[in-house]
């Protein structure tokens, strides 16, 4: 190791002499005498142990947590036993969150790209420089394209997202894309088309539950994942339809490996039986619904025998399930779930679910499907200026733009002639549709988008067809990413801003709707380890720099500009965030103190709320104000107003398998795999292949196979199992990173976003996750 020279060396040689005389600049000294300055060096007294209530951010569920902090170091995250949303549980991810702030790979300081994009050459800059840089780029882009919407803003939901929208609205771009079209847009759209809202299921009291394609045991959602096993009433029956034998299927009384894309046929047949056998809730249908006769006419042909031919579930059993469902109504649940679109007719599938619930009167009563209630919070009444140079969304007129990514089924009579031209494609304007947005940007139609902001979203990993996303990035003149870790998306950015973890920051209060509504919030449990900031501080910092650039404000009235400064800056962002939070709960005396103590707040002790819409005079948020079995608005837009069954336009070829997506309980999409405590549970993904098919292909357990879709091919180890239909294959998301991610994940398993094709659901604009067909070959 060390040569001879080393061992016999005397340090007093001439070599040292010159070194002795050097005098370094005193200002560079960072290790200083403790007495020289005083500051709060230790955030907690020595040896002190504290339990601080807060809220988890490892996935979307926002479970209550109590953090055990010892001498300023987070030791353990415990569940909050009092939290009614999470029912006192904390999953593997939530527990593993305790490693998050101490991950050495986290972003530590603002980084500015100095090399080529994606080359990985960065320099550290100060937050001041970063804010100036952002403001300048925004101003330049606005000047150059004379259109504020030339900068797009992507984000994912989270407590700090509202401050991201302070930034978006202060700049005035209309182009925002949220996660929903990768997530649950179609589901919300489908249920809302009937009830006007997206409801929850009262699994604690339901006697009969049908779950289609929801793996509640692994894809954890609180409180459902808790309720469906822990609090399930005695005798409750659970029927699960899933092409895979999931952990949820293992809990089911009956599991049907339904043929993919035919769930709707199954539910239509249930409706057929219930109507033809006169099992529906006459009074409810009469009082609350609209369009029953049309529905009745539609489903005449959808007999159980017809459905059996489609979905491969015996007609007898369909009949039996229909009768049982009706028998237990209203304590019957067809589970709404929370999942992304699987098929192009996804909205209609969900509409069918909702109609089944509606005709049986399984609505807004104990044990049924119940609309979410919420706790009213005090809003900050800020009005953002109206900017003249804000053009409408780039994907507003999506017709024509998306023809490449929408399957032939748009030609199907139920959908009419094409995509809707109205924003009914989206949950709301601000959600957008990733698929059509990306197509529009790629085609510069109707105008160029040249700036891209990203707040904690990772489109490079999460949006199907990665190559298109990267091509879109190439068009961008400025990309800024606000993140905790160097995500694949951040890697392509020009400027990366490090966001504090949820354990280091104050977050505003959030109202979580549900049968038992609750408000959740976060407070810092540890001091930030590095020079990171929250979106609240980042928005404030950037907007302060923006107001210094006059050209950014030349398309609004000067008076509006003054009002803006007063309301937004002085009124909100310049104040401590704690004041913002206190303002939110102003109406509830003592609520803020309770939040600090418990990490959540409920005005009425978290009682379940039923029946708010069970009033003949109640106006549902539909066109007719009734529960619409026949959707008037769809009719208006040229869409089929009833859930007519349409044959799939694309089916797997003879050698092809349908690629399925799914989740595990120990990872959140693509974001947690490099957490060592989660990594050790699963070190790589494997592709599920049915035993009989594997035999045909000559594949045995653990063999390397090549998976090939239209857009990509991946290699992965085979998991030969009885737990999947012979015509499908599956692997879980989050592996197969191309880049040397953590050494553990690098090139382990295969990537989902790489293999998936981009196919859009025709109404909600969601990405369809089960429309990729692959071939499998043994290597």
């Amino acid at each position: 190791m060390i040569g001879n020279k080393m061992t016999r060396r005397k340090f007093l040689g001439i070599s040292a002499a010159s070194a002795a005389g050097v005098a370094f600049a005193p200002a560079l000294t960072r290790v200083v005498r403790a007495s020289e300055k005083t500051n709060d060096y230790s955030i907690l007294p020595k040896g002190k142990r504290e339990f601080i209530a807060s809220n988890c951010d490892m996935c979307v569920n926002k479970c209550g947590i109590i953090c055990e902090v010892v001498e300023g170091k987070l030791h353990k995250i415990n569940p909050n036993p009092k939290n009614i949303k999470s029912r006192g549980m904390l999953c593997a991810k939530g527990n593993a969150g305790a490693a998050l702030p101490y991950s050495p790979d986290r972003l530590k300081t603002p980084l500015l790209r100095t090399g080529k994009r994606g080359e990985g050459k960065w320099k550290e800059i100060s937050w001041d420089e970063a804010f100036k840089l952002v403001a300048k780029n925004l101003a330049d882009l606005k000047e150059k394209y004379q259109n504020r919407s030339c900068v797009a803003f992507a984000s994912t939901e989270g407590f700090q997202e509202e401050f991201y929208y302070y930034l978006v609205n202060s700049f005035g771009s209309m182009n925002t894309v949220r996660h929903t079209t990768l997530c649950l847009s179609s589901n919300i759209q489908g249920w809302s088309s009937v009830f006007g809202v997206f409801p929850d299921a009262d699994l604690q009291h339901a006697e009969y539950v049908i779950m289609l394609g929801s793996d509640r045991a692994q894809a954890l959602i609180t409180p459902d994942s808790v309720d469906f096993q822990r609090f399930k009433p005695k005798g409750q029956k659970l029927i699960v339809l899933d092409p895979r034998f999931t952990e949820t299927a293992a809990k089911a009384d009956r599991w049907y490996p339904v043929k993919p894309r035919t769930d709707q046929a199954f539910v239509l047949a249930l409706i057929n039986v219930i109507i033809s056998e006169n099992l529906y809730d006459h009074a409810f249908v009469e009082t609350y619904t609209y369009g029953f006769e049309e529905l009745k006419n539609l489903v005449v042909e959808y007999t159980p025998e017809w459905a059996q031919a489609k979905c491969e579930i015996p007609a007898d059993e369909i009949r039996q399930i229909a009768r049982e469902f009706a028998y237990h109504a209203p304590r019957s649940v067809i589970y709404p779930g929370r999942r992304s679109a699987f098929y192009p007719n996804e909205v209609y599938i969900r509409q069918t679910f909702a109609i089944l619930a509606a005709i049986c009167g399984c609505w807004d009563t104990i044990g049924a499907v119940v609309p979410k209630s919420s706790v009213k919070l005090n809003m900050h009444n800020v009005i953002f200026p109206f900017f003249m140079l804000s053009q409408p969304r780039v994907d507003k007129q999506a017709v024509g733009l998306v023809k490449d990514v929408v399957p032939d089924s748009v030609a199907c009579p139920m959908v009419g002639t094409g995509l809707p031209v109205d924003s009914c494609a989206f949950l709301s304007e601000k959600d957008g549709s990733w698929g059509s947005f990306r197509e529009a940007v790629l085609q510069d139609n109707p105008y160029p988008v040249r700036g891209f902001f990203c707040f904690k979203q990772n489109p490079v990993q999460s949006v199907p067809n990665v190559q298109k996303t990267l091509t879109m990035f190439e068009k961008m003149e400025f990309i800024c990413v606000i993140e905790q870790q160097m995500s694949d998306t951040a890697w392509y950015a020009d400027l990366v801003l490090p966001h504090s973890t949820y354990l280091e920051s104050w977050d505003p209060v959030h109202n979580l709707g549900g049968i038992e509504p609750i408000v959740e919030f976060r407070q810092p449990v540890i001091k930030p380890l590095f020079d990171t900031k929250t979106m609240f501080e980042i928005a404030g910092g950037i907007i302060h720099e923006m107001v210094k650039i006059p050209s950014l404000w030349d398309d609004i009235e000067p008076a509006d500009f003054e009002a803006f400064k007063k309301d937004i800056l002085e009124g909100v962002l310049d104040k401590p965030i704690v004041e913002y939070i206190q303002h939110q709960v102003l109406e509830y005396p003592g609520a803020f103190e309770e939040l600090l103590k418990e990490g959540f707040y409920t005005p009425d002790g978290g009682k379940a709320r039923y029946g708010s819409t069970r009033n003949p005079d109640f106006r549902f948020k539909t066109k007719t104000g009734k529960i619409e079995l026949f959707n008037e608005r769809y009719k208006e837009f040229g869409l089929f107003p009833l859930p007519k069954y349409c044959e799939p336009s694309a089916l797997p070829g003879p050698d092809q398998y349908r690629f399925l997506v799914g989740r595990t309980a120990w990872n959140t999409h693509t974001s947690t795999q490099n957490n060592p405590y989660l990594w050790e549970i699963q070190k790589e993904n494997t592709i599920w292949i049915n035993t009989a098919e594997a035999k045909k292909l000559g594949i045995s357990q653990g063999d390397e196979v090549r998976v090939k879709s239209k857009v990509s091919e991946q290699t992965i180890k085979a998991y030969v199992t009885e737990k999947i239909r012979p015509d499908c294959v599956f692997y879980v998301n989050g592996w197969g990173r191309q880049s040397p991610w953590m050494s553990q994940i690098y090139k382990r398993g295969a990537s989902e976003s790489e293999i998936l094709e981009d196919v859009l659901d025709t109404i909600s604009g969601s990405m369809c996750m089960h429309e990729t067909f692959v071939t499998i070959t043994k290597i």
Partner: protein, 184 residues
């Protein structure tokens, strides 16, 4: 018999195989990341049946805190001992790492800890229990598969479950008399 007698009753039918318990245990007890270093685990029992008639169970497990603990018998230095509450613990300072307990344990519940430089295993989170808190795995479980309690207290949930439900223990033929009870 005034002493508490701790036990864990498991309703494995409720287990989601979500691994929350195993991660919670690692943080709570400073158990390092590693393939051999774990105190508790969740086994996916063999899949039964043929497609599409399938059945599968999940079995969380850990040190059984046997009343007749083989590990305690073979420990030459009394490093492994049972408390008055029936909890089998290891006094790390007394462990000579002869690993006889690892060979003797029919449940493969023990492992060598670099941190303690001793053989370690589940402690029923006695440091939490003494503060009136539940073991970490019990507390974090979404569906409350595990119920921790005092068998001597008829009012405890654990005792109630034991008296009202059929249950079994793992490897009864070894006559270890575990303090982990699985509901049938």
């Amino acid at each position: 018999m005034a002493d508490k007698q701790y036990a864990i009753v498991l309703d494995t039918k409720k287990c989601l195989n979500c691994k929350a318990c195993t991660v919670a245990c690692k943080f709570e007890n400073f158990v390092p990341v590693g393939d051999d270093t774990y105190r508790i685990w969740v086994t996916e029992m063999p899949l039964q049946g043929k497609f599409p008639r399938l059945h599968q169970e999940y079995q969380p497990s850990q040190c059984q805190h046997c009343e007749n603990a083989p590990c305690e018998k073979v420990c030459p230095t009394k490093a492994t001992f049972r408390t008055r509450e029936g909890v089998v613990l290891v006094d790390y300072k007394k462990c000579i790492l002869c690993k006889a307990c690892m060979a003797a344990c029919p449940y493969d519940a023990r492992f060598v800890s670099d941190l303690h430089e001793a053989v370690e295993k589940c402690t029923f989170c006695m440091h939490r229990v003494s503060e009136g808190r539940e073991p970490a795995c019990v507390e974090t479980c979404p569906t409350k598969v595990r119920v921790f309690g005092d068998m001597n207290d008829p009012a405890s949930d654990a005792a109630r479950l034991l008296s009202s439900r059929q249950h079994y223990q793992l490897k009864p033929e070894k006559n270890t008399r575990p303090r982990l009870f699985y509901l049938a």
